[in-house]
């Protein structure tokens, strides 16, 4: 039997339909103005260098007096957690009656290239935590770390037990040497010292390129061909463009922090081995005695589930819980499924530990 159930007219017809969609799609794109991102109303309560600490305005009556500080990664921009109406983890948390703060790291400049992990963890994060504690009049606050921000939150919590009540980590790598960790595999033999010494700050484009090469044909090709099917709908086009904007909105990485992070976390797997050094202090995750909720994504191609799940055996707390999200690394924040699952779960878990 002929497996190709197409004749000449079918093919020409399909391509013609594709072309019409493509033309319509390009027309839709040309009509789009500025892509708006970040939906929840917020106020800057603290600024330092490039950093801005935001406090989100409540949307409902607060149910939990202990504020929640969201620590974002240095990679990409934090508006991914608050992308648009109905696709915002922040919005969901506010609707659960939580008092939410978020650290926006901004865009590092050349002058920031000597900032270290110590500056970020014992400096910036600690000062933000103090601001939140003072503002809310709470001795201890809740932390929620996102990806690399989760690693920072773990380090911070291990060093500052007196200031953290509960810790939530989301898609956070802990064991960097698991079987399916492609990012880790790619950087194992790269001379990071030479890269940082040569480049200073690491260009955001270089990181983009690295992420795209994880699945090049899907991420650089297929995505744009399949896009023609949704571009007749302006709202869907806008949704796509918001994600696209976020993906390519990559701040440069501060050189010294990049050096320390890649070498100690990725190459030496120091977080599970207990060898990560922040300033003069060694990070021992066993010091974390407060409750921990670890949320990971089942289909995460950037942070494999096994990498996150390793946290259970590392922390010193008796109150550890994990939650598997049925989706990917980004879907956990922006998908419809995530909106129904993540904020309510976090809120309930924190509520039980007020």
């Amino acid at each position: 039997m002929n497996p190709f159930q197409m004749n000449a007219m079918d093919i020409v017809g399909e391509i013609n339909e594709f072309n019409s969609k493509l033309a319509q799609g390009l027309k839709t794109l040309s009509e789009l103005d500025e892509i708006d991102v970040g939906v929840s109303e917020k106020e800057a309560v603290y600024k330092e260098d490039n950093l801005v600490l935001y406090h989100f305005k409540p949307r409902v009556k607060q149910k939990n007096a202990v504020p929640l500080l969201v620590v974002y990664a240095l990679v990409n921009r934090p508006y991914m957690a608050d992308l648009q109406d109905g696709r915002s983890m922040i919005q969901g948390l506010l609707d659960e009656g939580l008092d939410v703060y978020l650290i926006d790291w901004g865009y590092p400049q050349s002058v920031d290239k000597y900032l270290t992990l110590d500056d970020y963890i014992n400096g910036y994060i600690d000062r933000c935590v103090d601001v939140v504690r003072e503002t809310s009049n709470q001795q201890k606050i809740n932390l929620l770390g996102i990806c690399q921000g989760g690693c920072f939150s773990l380090c911070y919590t291990a060093l500052h037990q007196d200031k953290v009540k509960n810790l939530v980590t989301t898609v956070t790598p802990v064991d960097f040497h698991t079987k399916h960790d492609l990012l880790s595999h790619m950087v194992q033999k790269i001379d990071i010292d030479q890269v940082v010494d040569t480049m200073g700050n690491i260009p955001g484009e270089m990181l983009n390129w690295t992420f795209l090469t994880l699945k090049p044909y899907s991420l650089m090709g297929q995505k744009y061909v399949d896009l023609v099917d949704i571009l007749d709908d302006k709202d869907k086009a806008l949704n796509f463009m918001r994600m696209e904007k976020w993906i390519f909105d990559s701040p440069d990485q501060v050189g010294e922090t990049y050096r320390e992070f890649i070498k100690q976390f990725y190459q030496q797997n120091g977080l599970v081995k207990g060898t990560v050094k922040v300033g003069e202090q060694i990070i021992d995750l066993q010091n974390i005695k407060n409750p921990v909720l670890n949320i990971y994504a089942k289909d995460d191609h950037l942070v494999p589930p096994d990498s996150s799940k390793a946290l259970e055996g590392c922390v010193g707390t008796d109150d550890y819980q994990s939650l598997e999200f049925p989706g990917g690394h980004i879907g956990i924040y922006v998908s419809g499924k995530a909106q129904k699952m993540i904020p309510p779960s976090v809120s309930q878990w924190l509520g039980e530990r007020c």
């Binding site: 000449a8 000597y114 297929q222």
Partner: protein, 411 residues
């Protein structure tokens, strides 16, 4: 075309062009029921892609839309889709003319895929390293300029990687430096060696990626054969495109987890960085000779600034702690004073005094509040003074720290 900006498809209507082509093909189809590849391709190009490119060339200059980059990505991938469509239409046509056995399908796929691979090899490689190399184009260009006619290395073929030229270059790399410009000559030789080393790695990377593409085509052929065997149907060109993407992703996905890839990737990045670093050094030498600021001098300033910033923050934290401590002490001393007064006022010696004291307790309460409020005012005023003083001290401390920092930090 600017007048057509509101209608980006005005002027030259690409969809009209496509319709015309469709009509031509349909007429052709009426005369001949079999496929005709000539309907799809003209010479080495692809008419669908050509029409799209023609429209895009006309539209592009008139538009200032911010989504240009997005347009380009879509158009680039659409070209790939057209290319696959064109080649598969040839396969379908050829297959229709055979006895449609498994063997004939396999032979056809092998033959046509070889042709397709040859075309893909000439296309822009999705995996092009050029995106990252762009970051390094500037130093590379500068380096190339050094081999211009005015250079002592003029005529050196740095981008020729034939074995013969490679031999000559290797000899050149080991040539001892001579005379006044010996140091610079050695640095240039080293840069050239690093550039050649990087180019070798780049070539190796591209060769391996190309092999992966071939493997992917082979996997795709096997998948189509399996579909044929299982009686599954391919009903659209998009389905073909997805099979092509999945096959490439699978082959690539397997390779990137190997040790070979880890080493290949590292060699490529490390050699590129080594060349770039050497280029920086050469650039620095030139800038220094012209008494212009260099990258290292700016880095030194940035490091000093970073250290100073840290010192200021540490002092701010200390100041805050001192203030808090001072506040505690003042509160305690205030409490002690009030308690002392209270104790004195509550120290009746005689019954009469005790009674009198009891009587005056209520009256005394008011003045106590007054005096307490006075104390608060006094404290506020003291606090202001102390803050002013602290600010002055801080300024002088920062200045001192500045001086200190400039002396202490050595590079």
């Amino acid at each position: 075309m600017s007048q057509n900006f509101n209608n980006p498809f005005g002027g030259l209507d690409w969809t009209d062009l496509q319709k015309q082509m469709l009509e031509t093909l349909m007429n052709f189809g009426k005369q001949n029921t079999s496929f005709s590849s000539s309907g799809f391709s003209s010479g080495n190009g692809n008419q669908w892609a050509d029409a799209m490119d023609m429209w895009w060339r006309a539209f592009k200059p008139s538009s200032s839309n911010n989504n240009f980059e997005m347009f380009n990505k879509m158009l680039e991938q659409s070209r790939m889709f057209y290319l696959l469509s064109e080649h598969f239409s040839k396969i379908f046509q050829a297959f229709e003319n055979t006895n449609q056995t498994e063997q004939s399908l396999n032979n056809l796929l092998v033959e046509q895929f070889e042709q397709l691979q040859a075309v893909l090899d000439q296309q822009h490689n999705m995996f092009s390293w050029s995106q990252i190399v762009d970051q390094c184009e500037q130093p590379a260009q500068l380096f190339k300029n050094l081999f211009s006619d005015k250079s002592i290395f003029s005529g050196m073929p740095i981008n020729d990687f034939s074995p013969e030229v490679k031999k000559i270059r290797e000899k050149f790399f080991t040539m001892p430096g001579l005379g006044y410009s010996r140091e610079m000559q050695e640095k240039m030789q080293e840069a050239l060696r690093l550039w050649a080393h990087y180019q070798d790695n780049y070539q190796e990377f591209q060769t391996i990626m190309s092999c992966l593409n071939h493997e992917a085509m082979d996997l795709m052929r096997k998948r189509l054969m399996k579909m044929h065997k299982d009686g599954e149907k391919v009903e659209s060109m998009r389905q073909i495109y997805h099979i092509w993407v999945d096959s490439n992703e699978e082959v690539y996905g397997e390779f990137v987890f190997t040790e070979e890839y880890s080493e290949l990737n590292a060699r490529l990045v490390n050699s590129l960085m080594a060349f770039k670093k050497q280029s920086h050094e050469i650039t620095e030498d030139y800038l220094k000779s012209m008494n212009l600021p260099t990258s290292s001098s700016i880095q030194a300033l940035e490091r000093r600034q970073h250290e100073l910033r840290k010192q200021v923050r540490d002092m701010q934290a200390e100041l805050k702690a001192v203030k808090a401590e001072l506040g505690k002490t003042q509160t305690v001393s205030k409490k002690v004073t009030v308690e002392d007064k209270k104790a004195k006022s509550e120290k009746p010696k005689t019954k009469a005094e005790h009674k009198a004291s009891k009587k005056t307790t209520k009256k005394a309460a008011k003045p106590t509040v007054k005096s307490s409020s006075r104390a608060v005012n006094l404290n506020k005023s003291r606090k202001k003074k102390s803050e002013k003083q602290a600010a002055t001290n801080k300024k002088s401390e920062i200045k001192n720290a500045d001086d200190k920092g400039m002396i202490e930090i050595k590079f």
